[in-house]
């Protein structure tokens, strides 16, 4: 039978080390909402979301109560909207109409975010994809809960450089459209390469076309728990370090698996995957950077950071995969800047630069995330940053992403406040040398030779 020591260990993880389930995300297919009339599309979308997700929030709260574990977010991801609106949308405003409908539905059911205002344009854009992409600045400035992902490349397809160029401009325009709200629109906009279609985390969540009609995906968290466990083995060898991370990741993931199964049963929706990510928050002690420091670095960004992060990421996966039969999504350590107090401290101390973060993205689960950059950064420079990150993903057959926030009217040395889970960020300097002539070339970068596995 369970003993007092085990009960206390679990409850200390929850109460002292910020263990939580970061999100229950209900993936919903909207393919049956397609129509040639935009108003009918909106009606069908609203009806389906509010019907299918009616009990999502209360179910999350009930599970949280039963097991004493906080479930921070309840979210929805939907089929990429460029596919849903393609037959009806004649212009970008039609897509904005769908975005507003999604926002209204998300508000009605009480979820924290809704993802899937998306286009997947790895190898080229359809007219609908392009209309949706061009509508993003308006859509994100006129809605509150809608998140947008654009997938720009993959190992199989290469990188769509026309879309990369366009997204530099779109990110900048989204910042301008939300400049009265600290450019918050860009915190809800992310570009990916090799985007997983079952990711429960925002802003990159969408419900892929290979998924069932509805599915429950759960994202766990727990950097504080890993840090606490490592503080007990200070000075120990690497084997001990790895064992400690693996055991902790196992325990954290088991909680996610339990919550996922229970949510699936209560909502009568199939269980999809557990995403075993270390997702930090701005709360003290809930930081991935603090884990790196606990391993022996003065700050995240110091020499050795990439190696430490590679090991952390790998051990989290090794511990997590045994805890759940269906692991998916992003699964690994997240390294956002604004959402992680340890990362913010590292940037402010001068230890962490965008270039070092880029190196770190080669060995962890996502990419350049929640990084505030000067508002006068050129669109082509943003596209250059995106292209570099997409190339890392393409060549290494992994997911990479870029979520940068050009903060209009602010420069290096200033700070931007997003509030809540999004935190605050010091504005980081960007390499000032031009990549205009490279970015202005048209076409795409071909798939790499190691993609030919057939």
């Amino acid at each position: 039978m369970i003993n007092l020591f085990e009960v206390n260990e679990t409850n200390n993880m929850i109460e002292k080390d910020n263990l939580d389930v970061r999100t229950i995300t209900l993936g919903l297919s909207l393919l049956d909402c397609v129509d040639s009339d935009i108003d009918k599309v909106c009606d069908k979308v609203y009806e389906k979301i509010t019907r299918k997700a009616e009990h999502l929030v209360e179910t999350g709260e009930e599970i949280s109560r039963e097991y004493g574990i906080p479930i921070v977010n309840k979210r929805i991801s939907v089929t990429p909207v460029s596919l849903i609106g393609g037959a009806a949308a004649k212009n970008s405003d039609d897509f904005v109409k769908i975005a507003k409908t999604l926002d209204k539905a998300a508000n009605t059911v009480g979820v924290n975010f809704l993802g899937g205002y998306s286009a997947l344009v790895n190898q080229g854009m359809t007219p609908a994809d392009e209309l949706l992409i061009r509508s993003i600045p308006d859509a994100l400035s006129q809605t509150e809960l809608v998140c947008s992902l654009v997938n720009l490349g993959s190992t199989r397809d290469g990188i769509n450089m026309d879309a990369v160029r366009l997204m530099g401009e779109i990110i900048l325009q989204t910042a301008r459209n939300t400049s009265d709200r600290d450019c918050l629109g860009c915190a809800k906009l992310v570009v990916f390469t090799n985007a997983p279609d079952n990711n429960p985390f925002m802003a990159g969540a969408f419900h892929g076309v290979t998924q069932p009609d509805a599915v429950i995906n759960v994202g766990v968290s727990g950097p504080g728990v890993v840090k606490y466990a490592l503080s007990k083995v200070r000075g120990a060898d690497f084997e001990t370090l790895c064992e400690t991370i693996k055991k902790t990741a196992f325990k954290v993931t088991r909680v996610g698996q339990l919550v996922a199964k229970e949510a699936s049963r209560m909502l009568d929706v199939p269980f999809g995957i557990v995403d075993l990510s270390l997702a930090p928050t701005p709360a003290i002690g809930d930081s991935v950077a603090d884990i790196l420091c606990e391993m022996g670095l003065e700050y995240a960004g110091a020499p050795g950071t990439t190696a430490a992060l590679a090991m952390l990421n790998d051990q989290v996966k090794k511990g997590g995969v045994m805890a759940s039969s269906y692991v998916g999504g992003l699964s690994g350590a997240f390294i956002p800047v604004s959402e992680d107090q340890g990362m913010i401290d590292a940037v402010e101390a001068g230890a962490l630069t965008i270039e070092k973060l880029e190196a770190m993205t080669c060995v962890c689960s996502v990419g350049l995330d929640m990084i505030a950059i000067p508002g006068d950064t050129k669109a082509s420079t943003i596209s250059g940053i995106i292209a570099d990150e997409m190339a890392i993903g393409m060549i290494n057959q992994k997911t990479t992403a870029v979520r940068v926030i050009p903060v209009i009217g602010k420069g290096v040395g200033d700070r931007v406040e997003f509030g809540g889970l999004l935190g605050y960020a010091p504005i980081m300097p960007v390499n000032q040398f031009s990549c205009d002539a490279f970015i202005n070339r048209t076409g795409r970068i071909p798939a790499p030779v190691h993609s030919f596995k057939n």
């Binding site: 009930e62 039963e66 097991y67 909680v255």
Partner: protein
């Protein structure tokens, strides 16, 4: 059997176990196991109980125990057993 773990943590005082046990008995909830320690004046107890014999809903049990805890100055949590089983048993 519907196993629930009840934990009680707080400054030690007279009658903590009595209050909790009386409430459980009144609501036909059977106690399967109790372990308890006192660390530097702080009371730390864990009970494994079976709700299968009770008409009470889990949420009501949790709320009532929370209220009793506030009354006597300790923190009482009720959690379904599965979270501990999942985490600590393969």
């Amino acid at each position: 059997m519907e196993k629930v773990i009840i934990t009680v943590v707080g400054k030690d005082t007279v009658g903590i176990i009595a209050r909790v046990c009386t409430y459980l008995a009144d609501n036909h909830i059977n106690i399967l196991d109790i372990s308890q320690t006192i660390v530097s004046g702080y009371f730390n107890m864990m009970m494994v109980v079976d709700m299968g014999t009770s008409d009470k809903k889990f949420v009501d049990l949790a709320d009532s125990l929370d209220a009793i805890g506030q009354e006597i100055g300790v923190v009482i949590h009720a959690q379904k057993e599965e979270i501990f089983d999942m985490m600590h048993r393969i």
